[in-house]
């Protein structure tokens, strides 16, 4: 276990593993998304209350879940980098931030498109929506802070600190619908007891969820390769890798 952990701290090992994983992750993501889209848009029945409008969940829910997952990954990588001084942790954090910001924006835009026909408004200062907006600001803050210093290692440390502290917002986003009165509906899938959705609607959603997760992992690997190359430019192994 520890040997594997130490291997992950090695930039050439991480670069090689990422290169090997990318085609599999992209292939898996494409398969899961194609099934999810066909089943979600054409096969699943309409909702008895929301009609066809509910089909927006097939992109809204995976993107919202991903926005929280990516922040958790970023914060964990930052904490590892701060505590054990593992440079790859900073690279993972830097690679994850723009992906997380884009999926948070997607969750906000698709949520707002869903909100208009269901709530009668594109935006409300609701606890879930507001905490998700704060999450977007945190992503932007982490990215800005990293590039605000002339010394990249100081930028990395400052961004890692903000990412680690900002993780407190993740449970706030998730439990906001439980802790406060919210327009947003409560948990449908991740809850104690069975999911509230029938299988015909649930399976396409789980497939899209898996597809988005695999897609994130693939894009993270591509960006991570770039980050590692930028940080290890002067190393002998990078020269060998670039030559080939």
């Amino acid at each position: 276990m520890w040997t594997w952990f130490y291997k992950l701290a090695s930039p050439p090992y991480v670069y090689g593993v990422a290169a090997a994983l990318i085609p599999w992750l992209l292939g898996g993501a494409a398969l899961a998304m194609v099934y999810g889209l066909i089943a979600g848009l054409a096969i699943a029945p309409p909702d008895y209350q929301q009609g066809e409008a509910y089909r927006m969940i097939y992109v809204h829910v995976p993107s919202a879940v991903l926005s929280l997952t990516i922040y958790t990954v970023m914060a964990a990588a930052s904490a590892v980098a701060l505590i054990w001084r593992i440079k790859v942790g900073h690279a993972v954090s830097a690679a994850a931030a723009p992906i997380g910001a884009s999926f948070t924006l997607l969750a906000l835009v698709t949520g707002s498109l869903w909100g208009r026909p269901m709530w009668g408004t594109y935006w409300a200062w609701d606890p879930r929506l507001t905490s998700e907006l704060i999450l977007l600001f945190l992503y932007v803050g982490v990215m800005s802070l990293r590039s605000a210093f002339e010394d990249p290692s100081r930028g990395d440390r400052a961004a890692a600190l903000l990412a680690t502290v900002g993780v407190v917002n993740v449970p706030i986003v998730h439990f906001s619908v439980v802790w406060w009165n919210s327009l947003h509906q409560g948990a449908t899938i991740v809850r104690l007891g069975a999911p509230k959705m029938p299988g015909s609607m649930l399976w396409p959603l789980l497939s899209m969820w898996l597809g988005f997760m695999l897609f994130f992992a693939a894009v993270l690997c591509i960006r991570l390769q770039g980050e590692v190359l930028n940080r290890e430019r002067q190393s002998t192994w990078v020269r060998e890798a670039v030559k080939s």
């Binding site: 809204h60 993107s63 869903w114 026909p117 591509i222 930028n230 890798a241 670039v242």
Partner: protein
Amino acid sequence: MISSSFWAMGGYARYVWPCFAFACLVLAWNLWAARRFRVAAQLRARRAMEMAAVEET
């Protein structure tokens, strides 16, 4: 042939389709930007390698 009722989405087409279109845009941007970032890093590394070779000679 896909029926027109499918595209109409029960009257919610102007919300449902932009939602999926924006999702496609975000996925495509992520892939494009990540690949561009990696290519730029590879070019920078190659340039650094060439500079080092010039300095050695």
